[in-house]
Symmetry: C2
Subunit: 554 residues, 2 copies
C-alpha cells in the first residue's frame, strides 16, 4: 500500500454522448483512455468536428506513459490524430488489433506516420510506469472492443469502454466475464462504466438475433435490396452477407467508409465472403434485381453518403426504382432523426419499400441495457463507481442502478468533464477542476469555440452583411468619391436600389458629422460609421445584419 493519490480526470463523455477521454494519473504519470470526438450540432456553423479540450495533456505531454483506445469508433478513437499533432511528443498507443488498424488508417490520412501503435491481446499485461495495463475482451457493435484495467499500488481502475454482454456474439467470443469476476475478487477500486442504455430496462438483444430477422425481410423483398448500417459494424455486415448468400443474392458495397471498413475487416479475418459473392457496384445493373443486395453507408441520413445520394437520384452507379427495398439496419442517433426521416421519405417518393427497425427487429444496440449494467457492477464489485459515457440523465440512472445492487450512494460519483476524482487510502473525493470543454475542428485548424469566427458566422448566417467603403481625403477627411455599399445575405430587400442610395446619404452624413466633431483617426471614424449605419439599417429593416465600414484614405 502507499500514500499516493490516484486521479481520474474525465475530459469528455460526461454530460454528453461523445468525445470520450479519461485521464488516469498516479505518482505524476499518466495513462489516457480513449481519444474520442463528437460531430457538430447544426448551430456550430461550418465546424467539422468537436474534440475534447485536451489542453491539460498538452502541458503534461512528458508525463504520458501511453494512450489506450478501447475500440475503433469515432467517439473513442477519432481525436487521436489531433491529439498527436498537438502534443510535442508521440506517446505509444495501445489497443486491440482492429482498433490499431483503424487508428493507423486515420493517422495515415493525417500523414502522421511515426506514431508508435501497439496491438495488445486481451489478457496480455504491460507495465506502464506505475500502472499495470490489461485489456479485457468485451462485446460491442465493432470487433476487438475492450475494457481497460489499470492497476496501481492503490488498486485497479476499470474503464469499461462501450459494451454489452452478448451471450451469442457473431464471432463466438463473448465478453470475458471470468476475468471481470477475477478482477472483482481481487478488488476493483473504481469502475468507470458505459451509461448509454441505462434508461433501457432488461437485457439487450444479441447481435446474432439480427441475422435471421434480416433474412426474413430479405426473403419477402421482390426486387433489389439495399441495406444500410454503420460501416464499422463488421458483424452486421457479415450477417447481411450471410443472409444474401443463403438467398442466392450477390453483394455489392457502396460508400467509401463501407468499402474501407470491410477491407480492414477482411484483412484481419473478421469478414468472409463466399466465393464469387462480391460484385463491384458498376456490375449491379448486369444482374436481375432479385439477385442483388447492396450494402451502403448513409444509415444516419448523412448529406454526402451513398444512400442519401441514391434517395436524391444522385448516385453515380445505383439508380433506385419502384420495387427496390431499402433496409435500415440501424437506428438514428439522437439529432439525426430529421435527416433520416427525409431520406426515408425520398425513398417512399421514388416508390421503394422501406423497412426500419420499427418495422422488424433488424437492429441490436451495441450498448448493454440496465440489467447488463447491474451485472457489470455485480461482477466487478467496485469500491467506487463513476458512471461515464452518458448525458446527465443516463449518468443519474446509472447511479440508481448502482444503488439498486447495493452500492452506497456515497460511493457513486456523478462527475463532470474536467472534475478529477481523487482516491487515496483515506477515501475518494473531487479535486479542483481542470481545464476542459470543447475544441472545434474547422477545416484543417483547431481552435476555441469562443473564437470570434463562429460568432461572426452566426451573425452572418442570420441576417447577412452590409459593407460600406468610404474614400476620404487624407488632408481634409472629406469624402472624395461616393461611398460604395454592398450587401450579401441580407433579407429580401424590396427597393434595394433606393435603400442603397439612402445608406450612401447616411454615410455622407455620418462622415460629415465626424469631420465636424474633429474625428480623423480611421478606427474612430469606422466605429462612428458602424454605429450610425447599424442604427439606420435596423430602423429600416428591423434586422441586424453585420455592418462593416471600411474607410480608405487617399
Amino acid at each position: 500500500m502507499s500514500g499516493g493519490v490516484l486521479r481520474v480526470l474525465p475530459l469528455g463523455g460526461l454530460g454528453e454522448i461523445g468525445k470520450n477521454m479519461t485521464v488516469v494519473e498516479y505518482r505524476g504519470r499518466i495513462v489516457v483512455v480513449d481519444t474520442g470526438l463528437r460531430f457538430p450540432t447544426t448551430d456550430m456553423l461550418g465546424i467539422d468536428l468537436v474534440l475534447p479540450d485536451f489542453g491539460y495533456l498538452r502541458d503534461r505531454a512528458a508525463d504520458i506513459e501511453g494512450i489506450v483506445v478501447t475500440h475503433g469508433h469515432e467517439d473513442h478513437l477519432g481525436a487521436l490524430p489531433w491529439v498527436m499533432r498537438e502534443l510535442d511528443r508521440s506517446p505509444p498507443v495501445y489497443g486491440g488489433r482492429l482498433t490499431m488498424a483503424m487508428a493507423r488508417s486515420k493517422l495515415d490520412e493525417h500523414k502522421l506516420r511515426d506514431v508508435p501503435l501497439d496491438d495488445m491481446r486481451p489478457g496480455e499485461e504491460l507495465e506502464l510506469g506505475p500502472f499495470r495495463l490489461e485489456l479485457v475482451h468485451m462485446t460491442h457493435s465493432i470487433p476487438d472492443s475492450c475494457a481497460v484495467a489499470l492497476t496501481t499500488e492503490l488498486g485497479t481502475v476499470l474503464v469499461t469502454g462501450d459494451y454489452k454482454f452478448d451471450q451469442t456474439p457473431v464471432d463466438g467470443l463473448p465478453a470475458d466475464v471470468s476475468r471481470l469476476a477475477e478482477l472483482g475478487r481481487q478488488g476493483v477500486l473504481l469502475l468507470c462504466g458505459d451509461s448509454t442504455n441505462a434508461d433501457r430496462s432488461g437485457f439487450s438483444p444479441s447481435e446474432r438475433d439480427v441475422g435471421p430477422r434480416l433474412q426474413e425481410v430479405f426473403a419477402r423483398a421482390p426486387g433489389r435490396i439495399i441495406v444500410t448500417s454503420f460501416a464499422s459494424n463488421i458483424h452486421r455486415v457479415q450477417q447481411v452477407i450471410d443472409a444474401a448468400a443463403r438467398l442466392g443474392r450477390k453483394v455489392s458495397l457502396v460508400g467509401r467508409s463501407m468499402r474501407k471498413n470491410v477491407n480492414i475487416g477482411r484483412s484481419l479475418g473478421h469478414i468472409e465472403f463466399p466465393e464469387g459473392a462480391l460484385i463491384p457496384p458498376q456490375e449491379v445493373e448486369d444482374w436481375p434485381d432479385e439477385k442483388i443486395v447492396v450494402i451502403s453507408t448513409g444509415s444516419q441520413g448523412e448529406p454526402l453518403s451513398a444512400l442519401r445520394r441514391m434517395a436524391h437520384n444522385d448516385h453515380r452507379m445505383i439508380k433506385l426504382h419502384r420495387g427496390d427495398t431499402v433496409v435500415f439496419s440501424a437506428t438514428p442517433i439522437p439529432g439525426n432523426e430529421r435527416a433520416v426521416n427525409e431520406t426515408v421519405d425520398r425513398l417512399f417518393h421514388i416508390g421503394c419499400e422501406v423497412i426500419t427497425s420499427r418495422d422488424a427487429p433488424i437492429h441490436a444496440s451495441g450498448h448493454g441495457y440496465a440489467e447488463e449494467l447491474k451485472l457489470m457492477l455485480n461482477l466487478v464489485k467496485p469500491r467506487y463507481v463513476m458512471p461515464v459515457h452518458g448525458d446527465h440523465k443516463r449518468i443519474r440512472l446509472h447511479g440508481q442502478l448502482a444503488d439498486a445492487v447495493g452500492i452506497d450512494p456515497e460511493d457513486v460519483f456523478r462527475g463532470e468533464n474536467g472534475l478529477p476524482l481523487e482516491i487515496d487510502a483515506g477515501g475518494a473525493r473531487y479535486g479542483e477542476p481542470e481545464q476542459s470543454g470543447m475544441i472545434f475542428v474547422d477545416g484543417v485548424d483547431i481552435g476555441d469555440p469562443a473564437d470570434v469566427a463562429l460568432r461572426d458566422r452566426r451573425m452572418l448566417s442570420g441576417d447577412g452583411i452590409f459593407i460600406v467603403v468610404a474614400t476620404v481625403s487624407e488632408q481634409s477627411g472629406a469624402s472624395v468619391v461616393p461611398p460604395e455599399v454592398i450587401f450579401r445575405g441580407v433579407p429580401f430587400v424590396e427597393q434595394a436600389d433606393s435603400l442603397v442610395e439612402e445608406i450612401r446619404h447616411e454615410v455622407e452624413r455620418s462622415l460629415a458629422r465626424a469631420a465636424n466633431d474633429g474625428v480623423r483617426e480611421i478606427d474612430m471614424l469606422q466605429q462612428e460609421l458602424h454605429d450610425d449605419l447599424a442604427a439606420f439599417v435596423y430602423d429600416r429593416l428591423r434586422r441586424r445584419p453585420m455592418v462593416l465600414p471600411v474607410v480608405v484614405e487617399v
Copy 2:
C-alpha cells in the same frame, strides 16, 4: 348534373407535414381550405417561417368566394395574415368560433383589422357561389376542429382537417359521425383525409384517458410540478388544472402563448378554473412546493420558451431546483428531438425529476390511427380519395388503408403539391401542374427561397467572408493606396497577419496583371480580383470563404 369540372389543387401539405392549403375550384370560383405554415429547418438560415407558395391565389384573388379554416393550429391557420396582405382584396374567412378568435388575434398582430371573419357553427350551411359550405364537428387536440364539406352540382368534396374519433372527448362532444355517414349516403365525390398517423395501427387513445394518468404522476411528485404541453391543447390544459385541483395544488401559467391561449379558451368557455386555483407566476414562491403546478410552454424545446429558460436557469420568476418534477405532456415533433433532449438533460443536471410520455401515458395524439382512417373511409364511402397532410410515406400508407377497405387503387390519388385533381362526370385525373412550393418569411418580408440572400448566408455561415478594397487611379488603373483586407467568420487563421499581407501582395499582383491586360472596366477588374483571390485563399486555407473585392476609383 353538369358538365363542369371540379378542380382540387393542394398548394401545401402533400409530401410534407405542415403548411396545409387546398384550393377547391368550380365554374371559375374558388374556396380555399386552410392557410397553414411550417417552421423552418435548421438549414434555412435566418428564415422565420415557411409558407406555401400561393402565387396561384394572387392571380385569382377576384375569384375567391371564401377561405375556410378547419382549426386554429399554425399549420392550418398560420399563413392567413400573409395571404391577406398579398391578395389585393380580403375574401371572407370562415371557421369555428375558437378558430376565428385565434385568427383575429393573429391578424391583429399584423394590424390587419379589416378582414371579415365569420364564425360558423357545424351543421350551418352557407352558399358561396357554386359551392354549398358546411362544417362538420370533429375531435382533435384543439377545440372547434371541423371537417369542411363543399358541395357542388358534381358532388361533395370533404376535407377532413386534422381529426381523431375520440369517443370520450373532454368536452363531451365526439365527432359528428352521423353527419359524416349521412354525407356518405348522399355520396361524397372526393375525400381529402388527414394522413398524419397512417403509420400507427389501431385506434388512438382518448384525450380523456390522459387526465387520470396525469393525476397519478402528480400524486407521486414530492415537490413542485411543472407541466409542459402545447398551449393550444386547451383540453389538456383543463385536465392539468383538474388534476391539480383534486390534489389541492394551485396552478400558475408561464409563457406568453400559454397565457394567451388560456385567455381565449376561458373567454369562449372552453377552460374553467376552480375558484382561487390560478395564481400569478410571481406568487409561486409564496406557496409550499407541494402546493404548486406550473403550466408552461416549451414542450418542443423552443429556444425562447419558458421551460427552456427555466432549464437554463434563465427564467425571471421560476427557478427550478432538486425536488421539482417536470412533466412533458407532449411528444417531440420530428426534428425537435435534439432540442427536447437537451432541455431534458439540463433538467436532470439541475436535479429535477423528468417524466415524459415514454415513462407514463400522459399524452394522446390529436390524429387518428389507421383504424380511424379506415372508419372515416367507411363512413364517407368516397368515390375518390386523395390522402393529404402527410409526407410521401404516410400518403402511401393512407392509400393502402383505402385499398384495405375496398376502394379501387385506381380511385386513390397520391397527389403532389401543385398538382390539381380534375373531376367531371367522366372521371378523375390530374391536370397540368400549377405554381407551388415554399415562400420564406424573413423578418417582415416574404420572398422566394431561391433568393440569393439565403445562398449567400449559407456560404457566409460555412466559411465566412474576405473583403478586399483596392483603390486605383482613374487615370492609370494603378493601385494608389495599399489594399485593405478584412475578414469575418473565416476559420481560425493562424498567422492571420502574414496571410493578410500575402493577400495584399496577391491583390497588387492581380491588379498589375489586369492593368497589363488592359482591363480597366471596374466590373471586370472585380471579377478578375475575385477569381485570383478565391484561388489564392483556397490554396492557403483549403476553405472557400466568400471573397468580395471592391475596387474604388479615385
